[in-house]
């Protein structure tokens, strides 16, 4: 046990608490630009990514990280979709902590995942879905570990360096899932007021835990609502303003991934993307980065590549599914 890849800084709850104590926890305005928000991300940071697979992925924030050419990042996300491929191919991520990576069953095993991991260019640290969820939750709770009954007995134990703990009451041995305190959390939410109080519709995924576990929290939102509106539905708020460091209004900020109730994921786009990789291998992701990430100067320019018609169609499909 104790694989060198399990970095003590990840679960050091005392240091993590000291960082949070040192932060200004203000009910001030948090609105800013993508460039300014993402300027807080440093080379080598560990990043907790909100949403799950192709749902509510903070793509606008992640695109800006790639544009700012960060290196040596660790991405931690329960199910990693093609945003992980972009970070691998761009040389931005050297380590990915996840339970699963590919786009989805119909598109098969990710060739980009295979390329970068099989060559040893990127370390893929695999945790079970629940265990990684509990890593974020332990972080959110400010404790160094949480007991659980999962991941035991499997070969995943050795990958992440999972330890066990003896229950002091019954004497039983349980998994001790270590906390994860990311340097940065990236979230995309349905709505937030300008003070950073965030509300999410539909799937909560793990965003609330990731935000509380992280030192710096960057949020993009489909919509800015008034303070009054937050106060009319306080039971819908999942991240309080004092946790948030920077907030950016980015409509369609997860596209071509989905945002519950607002737009469905663009399967056709995934198919085109995979077809290019099937045809030209990992180089196709380089072309994709040029076309979608480094090329269009703003998120709005990026969305223009998809076109209003497709976005309207995906919005209509979302309404049908959730209406």
């Amino acid at each position: 046990m104790g694989d060198p890849r399990l970095n003590p800084a990840e679960y050091d709850f005392i240091a993590a608490r000291r960082r949070t104590e040192a932060k200004t926890k203000s009910a001030a305005e948090k609105l800013t630009s993508l460039e300014d928000a993402v300027g807080r991300v440093k080379d080598g940071n560990q990043i907790g990514v909100g949403g799950c697979l192709f749902s509510r992925t903070p793509l606008a924030l992640m695109r800006e990280i790639l544009r700012q050419r960060r290196r040596g990042l660790t991405l931690a996300r329960n199910l990693t979709c093609n945003e992980g491929e972009l970070f691998m191919a761009a040389g931005a991520a050297s380590r990915v902590m996840t339970a699963w990576m590919s786009i989805g069953l119909p598109w098969g095993v990710s060739k980009i995942l295979r390329h970068y991991v099989e060559t040893g260019a990127v370390a893929l640290e695999e945790w079970s879905h629940l265990a990684l969820g509990l890593r974020f939750r332990a972080g959110a709770m400010g404790v160094p570990f949480l007991p659980a009954l999962t991941m035991l007995g499997s070969d995943l134990v050795g990958v992440g360096g999972l330890k066990t703990v003896q229950d002091p009451y019954t004497g039983e041995t349980l998994a001790a899932v270590p906390a994860l305190f990311p340097d940065v959390a990236l979230l995309h939410v349905h709505r937030a007021d300008r003070f950073g109080n965030c509300q999410i519709d539909g799937y909560p995924h793990m965003d609330a835990d990731i935000a509380r576990a992280a030192t710096t929290v960057l949020v993009s939102t489909e919509e800015i609502i008034s303070d009054e509106e937050t106060r009319r539905s306080p039971d819908r708020t999942v991240v309080p303003g004092f946790v948030v460091d920077a907030l950016v209004r980015v409509p369609f900020g997860s596209f071509p991934h989905e945002c519950y109730g607002l737009y469905e994921a663009d399967y056709d786009h995934f198919a085109e993307y995979c077809a290019a990789i099937d045809a030209r291998g990992p180089a196709a992701v380089g072309e994709y980065l040029e076309r979608y990430v480094y090329g269009p100067p703003t998120w709005s320019d990026y969305l223009d590549l998809f076109g209003g018609e497709r976005m309207a169609l995906q919005a209509k499909r979302a309404k049908e599914l959730t209406g």
Partner: protein, 256 residues
Amino acid sequence: MTGHFNASELLAVIAARQLRDDTTVFAGVGVPLLAAALAKRRHAPRLTMVIEGGIIGPQIAPGRLPVSTNEMRAGHRATMLPGITDAFLFAQRGFVDVGFMGGAQIDQYGNINTSVLGADYWRPKVRLPGTGGANDIASLCREVIIVTAHEKRRFVERVDFVTSPSWLRGDGSRKAAGLLFGGVSRVVTTLGILGFDPESKRMRIEATHPGVSTDALRQNTGFPLLEAPRIEITEPPSDEELEMLRALDPERRFLG
């Protein structure tokens, strides 16, 4: 096997029959979810589906089957969206009767590998997508049923990597590892139904599909199979079952 249905249809129908009414099932996308949806429509109206995306009680829309556990299609008309971590915690607490899952590589003790092929985890010969929720379903549900195509390359004596633990190395090793509950009870395949010897926890033949010999099962399995005291022959899918199943996937996204 008659020519009236294909392998995926057979799998889905036989898998659906394993589910009882008034229970809960943790189902992965693809054939497991189709099977659960079929069971609910046909004989288990009070079955509740749980999906690892953090979804309870969805009603899958025919023709809009989810391809992931975390998208709007998976949560269509759900009764609760508790989030991913809490969905698994319901299983840890004992609220999920059956876990329904597929598998890339499976060994004679029911252990599954969906992580890596090859000996070096960090530099694998083939990197697979990973566990997703499979490890947790295998660890936490009261009982696990694996649903998979029966191919020799899948049924291996020893998996390269135990992603999702079943009986580990048999002989109480599951419990000794701290997995106090659950375990794989059955493996529903395209050739038959496999179970486990109560003592050794090694895989055994419990039923064959019509027209499939036990020899055919053995020939398609990479390790010796034990036999249950009595080997049943499964009832082939009925027209009613096939009709209901096909209505769920008119685009034949998972039925092929």
